[in-house]
Amino acid sequence: MDDSPPSSAEHRMIFRSEEMSLAQLYIQSDSAYNCVAELGELGLFQFRDLNPDVSSFQRKYVKEVRRCDEMERKLRFLETEIRKDYVPMLEARDDCPVPVPKEMMDLELTFDKLEAELRDVIRNEDTLKKNVNELTELKHVLRKAQLFFEENHDDQTAEATLIPLDISRDATAELSLLMQLNFVMGVIRRERFPAFERLLWRVCRGNVLIRQAELEDPGQCQITGETISNTVFIIFFQGDLLKLKIKKICEGFTATLYPCPNTAQERREMSIGVLTRIEDLKTVLGQTQDHRHRVLVSASKNVQLWLKKVRKMKAVYHSLNLFNLDGTQRCLVAEGWCPTDDLDKIRLALIRGTEASGSQVPSILHVVDAAENPPTYHKSNKYTKGFQNIVDSYGMASYREINPAPYTMITFPFLFAVMFGDMGHGLVMLMAGLFFIFTTFFNGRYVILLMGLFSIYTGFIYNDVFSKSMNILSSSAWKNSYSQRFLREHLTVEGQDRPYMLVPERAYNNLRGPYPYGVDPVWNLAETNKLSFLNSMKMKVSVILGVAQMAFGLLLSLYNHRYFKSDLDINFMFIPQALFLGCIFVYLCVQIIAKWVLFTAEPGYIFGIEYPGANCAPSLLIGLINMFMQKPRPSGFDTPACYLNFWYPGQSFIESLFLSIAICCVPVMLLAKPYLLWREDRLRRQRNQSNLSVRVDIHQEDVEVIHAEELPPGSKANHTSHGHASSGPFDLGDVMVYQAIHTIEFVLGCVSHTASYLRLWALSLAHAQLSEVLWTMVFRHAFAFDGYTGAVLTYVLFFVFFFLSVGILVLMEGLSAFLHALRLHWVEFQSKFYGGHGYPFTPFRFRSVLEEAQKDDDQS
C-alpha cells in the first residue's frame, strides 16, 4: 500500500485497532440500492440504525423485504423438493452479482411459474398415488377376503359357527337365510388395530366377529412419505343398527372401508378389474414422476444461484431500512462506522454504485464527530486470526487500546511450549499443524503450527525427545572421578548395584564450561537427583518468565495511558504499580539470576566474603519471607545455618528500603486517583456555576438554562481510557470502590499471579514424567528380548507406545497445556493492561450474510 498517505502509516500498526470514523452518506434514493450493494461487496461499512423507534414492519423498504422473503420461501420449497429426489444441485459462487431492483419482477415471475408448476405436478402425483394406494389396498382386501372365506369354508362356513349344534341340518339352512350375516371389510393402521378391536367388542357387546390379516407390502403415508404397515380386517355382524355403529367407529379410527361383493365369482371379477386399473394408473404415475423430475432437474441448475441472489437483495433492503429519509424525500441519509483508512475505498464504491444506477447526482460521504465510542476493528489475516480470536474471546478490546494479539502470537505458543516441551511431541504437533494448513480452513491451524515449532525449541532446551536426551555436542564438563579399579571392587556389594555420586568438586571440569545449550544430557543418567535439578531450574525459570510477562504487561499499560493522554493514570497508577512489582518481584528475579551466576560448588569469595561451598548458597524463598518479616540475620557464611544469612553487603538496608517503597505504593494506588478526580470535579463545578447561560426558544415558549460545559483537555481521554470515569455526575463512592477493587486486585494479583506462573513448572514436570513412564513401562520392555521375539515385540509395542503418546501426551496433555497457556494470557498477562470494554466492528458484508443464512439452513 504505497499509495496511501504517509500520515496514515502510523494508524496501520497492528498494535492497536483501526482508527474508525463515523461517516454520513447522502445518497439519491435512485442510486441507494446500487450503492449499498457495492458497499456490501466491499464489506467495510457498518450501518447504524437511524430509526430505532420505528418497528420492523413500518420501515420504508418493508414491502421489498417481504417480497424477498416470499421468493426465498419458494426457493426453499424448490430446494426441499430437489433434495427429496436426490437431484444434484449446482453450487453457486459467493460473488454472484447483486440483482438490480428491476430484476426482482423477473425473478418473482420465474419462481411463481416454477412453484405453480411444481405444486401442480405434486398435487397430481399425490392424487394418483392415493388412487394407486387405495386400489392396491383393495386388491389385497379382495385377496384376503378370498382367504377368509375359504378358511371358513373348511370349518363349515362362517354362518355355521354361530348356530347352535342341536338344530337339525334343515333348520340350519333356513336359519342361515334368516340370520344373514353382513360383513364389512377395510384397512386400518396396524398400531391402531388393538384399540379398534377392543372398542368394537365393547360397543357391540361382543356381537361381532373380527378377523384380521397383515398386509404384506406396507403403504406410504401421503404427507410424510414414511412407510406404514396396515392390517386388513373383516367384521361380521348382524343387523343395521350395528352396521351404523361399526361404520362410525371405522370413521373414528380412520379406517378405510372397501366394498366387497358377497360371492367368490364377483370378487374374482372385481379383482381383475382392479388389477387393470392399477396398471393404467401406474403408467400415468410414471409419466407424472418423469415430468416432476424434469422440472426439478432444470431448476436444480439455478436454485443455489437464485437463493444467493435473493439473499443478497434482501440484505440490501434490510440495510436500506436502517437509512433515514431526508426532508425532501429525494435523498437517503445513512450513518455508520468505517475504518478511516478505507474512506477512499468507500468513496470509490459509492461512485461505482452511482454510475451503475445511471444517476447524475453523486453520492456524498461526510465524516462527522462521534459522541459514542467507535467499534473495535482489528485487521487480521489468516495467520493472525487465530490469535486474535484467542484475545477476542476474553473480551473485545476497547477502541484504540493496545491489542495484545501481536504479543500473544509469540508468547502464547512459547508458554504453551514451556509446559509441553518435548521435541518428539512437538514434531507430532507440527505435523498436525502442517496437515491442517494444507487441507482445511480450520481457524486455529497456525496456532497449532507455532505451538509445534516452539515445543520443538523448548524440547531442544530441555533436551527431551520422548523423554530421552540427545548428546549431540559431547562436550560435557562432567567426567567420571572414580578410578576403574575402585569401581571394579566397590560397584557391586553383595550382588546389588551401588550408586555413586559424582561430587562436583572432583567430577566437574570448570575449564570446559557447561554444556553449550540447554540441559546437560548427563542429567539423564542421574537417576536420583535428576528431578531435584530440573525442578529447581524449571521453577526458577517459571518465576522469571512470569515476572517478565507481568512487567511487560504493566509496560503496555504505560503505552495505553500515554496514548489516552492520562497523566493521572501514569503518575498515580502506573508508577506505584511498577514500583511495587519492581521492588519485590523483579528483585526476586535479580536474586535468582545472581545466585545462578555467583554461587558454584567450589568455595570462593563472593563480594569479598568467604564462601565455603554449595551448602551456603542462599535460600531465596525463605529470604523473601524474611524480607517481609524484617527478621534480623547475621551476614556472611560462617554460622551453621549459613544459607539463611544476608549474602551481599547492604542487603538489610536495601531490603528494608524496597519493602517500605512497596508498602508506600499501596495507599498511593488506593487513594490518589479518587482524590484528584474528586478535586477536579469540584473545581469544574465551581467554574460552571459562573458559566450559566439562558436560551429562549421563541417557537416553543420555553426557556432552558444551559451549563456551558467547558471540557478540560484531558477529560475526553478519561472517557476513552478504561470505561471508568463515566460521563454522568461524579460519584466519589463509585470511584472509591472501583479503585479499591483495582488496588486489591493488583497487590494480591502480583503475589498470586507469580505463584500462578509456577504452573509452567508443574505442567512441564508432569509432561516429562508421563512421557518417561510411557517409555520405561511400555516401550522399553521390547528391548529386553533378543532375536525375532525382540523384533516382533518392538514392532507391536511401538504401536502401543505411539498411540498412547499421541492420545495422552499430545492430545490430552496438549489440551491441558493449551488451557493453562490461555489462562496465563487472559488472567495473568491481560489483567495488567487490558480493558476489553469494546464492541466488535460488524460491517455489512454479503459474504457473512450468506454464510449465516447457510448456517441457518444447515441447522433446520
Binding site: 418497528s55 414492519f57 417481504r66 426453499r76 373414528g252
Partner: protein, 348 residues
C-alpha cells in the same frame, strides 16, 4: 431431600424449560405487535422473537387459523420433547397436564356431535395436547354410560368419570355438568398428586391449583344464575381443594346474584382485590381477565423457586396465555377492530 437429587433426574428438563420460558414474548414485543397493520406485519415482527421462522414456509396469505395452528404445533413439539425425556414422577406430572386438554376435547366432541357436525371437522379443532386414541370414536355414544363404557374406560380419565354416569341423555346442560364434574375430579386428583410429591412442587402447585379450583367455583356460580341448574347440583360441581373450601363454597352455594358472590369472596384477601377492579363499564376489566392476570402472576412466581415441577405446569399455562394473546391481537388486526387490541394479558 428431593431437592438434593432433583438435578440428576430432572435437571436437563428444568434447564430446558427455563430456557423456553426466556423466549416468552415481552412487554416490548407486545407493544410492537399491537402496532401491526396487517397479519403480514405480525408475521414479520414475530420472526424477530423466539418463534423465529415458524411462519416462514406458509404459502399464500396467512390467516388467524394458520397462526393458531402453528402456535399450537410449536407448543406441542416442545411439550412432546419434554414428555419423551421425562422420568418419573415428572412424566406422570406432565401427563396430568394433558388431562385438562383431554377433558376439553371430550366436551368439544360431544357438543359437536350433538350439533350434528362431521367428526373430521371437530377433530381438527381439538387441542393436540389432549388427543388420545379413542377420541375419534366418541360420537357413537349417546348416553354418559355408553360414553364411559365404550370410550373412556381405557383412558386415564375413567376414574374421574365415575361420578357422571347416569342414564340421562347427553344434552347441552348435561355436557356442561359432565365437563365440570370431570374438571372437579381432575383438579382434586392433581392436587392430591402434587401434595404427595411434597417439597417445593407441592408448595408451588397447590397454590396454583387452589386458585384454579376457586376460579372454577366462582365462574360456575356466576354462570349458573338464570339457568335451570339447582343450587344442590351446583354445589356438587365445586372443586374442593381451593382456599374457599369449606366456608367459601358454602357461601357460594347459597349465592343468588353477582353481589353475593362478591361478598363471599371479600373474606379472602387474594380474591377481594380481583373483584375490586372489575365492573360492567367499558373501561373496566372483566372478572375473567382479572383471573387470567392473577394466574399469570402465580405462574411467573413459580419460576422464583428451584427444583420443582411447577415450572413445567406454569410454562404450559403461560404459553397458553401467550397464544391467546397473539390470537387476540391477530383477530383484532384481521377484523380491523383495533379499539380492543390492548386487552391482552401481558406476561411479566
Amino acid at each position: 431431600m428431593g431437592e438434593f437429587f432433583f438435578n440428576i433426574d430432572h435437571g436437563y428438563l428444568e434447564a430446558l424449560i427455563r430456557g423456553f420460558k426466556g423466549g416468552i414474548l415481552t412487554q416490548s414485543d407486545y407493544a410492537n405487535l399491537v402496532q401491526c397493520e396487517t397479519l403480514e406485519d405480525l408475521k414479520l415482527h414475530i420472526q424477530s422473537t423466539d418463534y423465529g421462522n415458524f411462519l416462514a414456509n406458509e404459502p399464500g396469505a396467512i390467516t388467524v387459523g394458520v397462526i393458531d395452528e402453528r402456535l399450537k404445533e410449536k407448543l406441542v413439539t416442545e411439550f412432546t420433547h419434554l414428555r419423551n425425556n421425562a422420568l418419573e414422577p415428572l412424566a406422570t406430572f406432565l401427563d396430568y397436564i394433558t388431562y385438562a386438554y383431554m377433558i376439553d376435547n371430550i366436551v368439544l366432541l360431544i357438543t359437536g356431535t350433538l350439533h350434528q357436525r362431521p367428526i373430521a371437522e371437530l377433530i381438527s379443532k381439538c387441542h393436540p395436547l389432549g388427543s388420545f386414541e379413542q377420541m375419534e370414536a366418541i360420537h357413537i355414544a349417546s348416553t354418559p354410560a355408553e360414553l364411559y363404557n365404550a370410550v373412556l374406560v381405557d383412558t386415564p380419565l375413567a376414574n374421574y368419570f365415575v361420578d357422571c354416569i347416569n342414564e340421562q341423555d347427553l344434552d347441552e346442560m348435561n355436557v356442561e355438568i359432565i365437563r365440570n364434574t370431570l374438571y372437579k375430579a381432575y383438579i382434586e386428583d392433581f392436587y392430591k398428586f402434587c401434595e404427595n410429591l411434597g417439597g417445593k412442587t407441592a408448595e408451588v402447585m397447590c397454590e396454583i391449583l387452589a386458585f384454579e379450583a376457586d376460579r372454577r367455583a366462582i365462574i360456575i356460580t356466576i354462570n349458573s344464575f338464570d339457568t335451570e341448574l339447582s343450587k344442590d347440583d351446583r354445589e356438587k360441581l365445586y372443586p374442593r381443594c381451593g382456599k374457599l373450601y369449606p366456608e367459601g363454597l358454602v357461601g357460594l352455594a347459597r349465592a343468588d346474584d353477582y353481589e353475593q358472590v362478591k361478598q363471599v369472596c371479600e373474606w379472602y384477601g387474594d380474591y377481594k382485590a380481583l373483584f375490586e377492579g372489575t365492573g360492567p363499564n367499558p373501561g373496566d376489566k372483566t372478572l375473567e381477565d382479572k383471573f387470567f392476570e392473577h394466574e399469570v402472576k402465580l405462574n411467573v412466581h413459580s419460576y422464583l423457586h428451584q427444583f420443582h415441577f411447577g415450572v413445567f405446569y406454569a410454562f404450559i399455562k403461560l404459553k397458553e396465555q401467550e397464544m391467546r394473546n397473539v390470537i387476540w391481537i391477530a383477530e383484532c388486526i384481521s377484523q380491523r377492530h383495533r379499539s380492543k387490541i390492548d386487552n391482552y394479558i401481558p406476561i411479566l
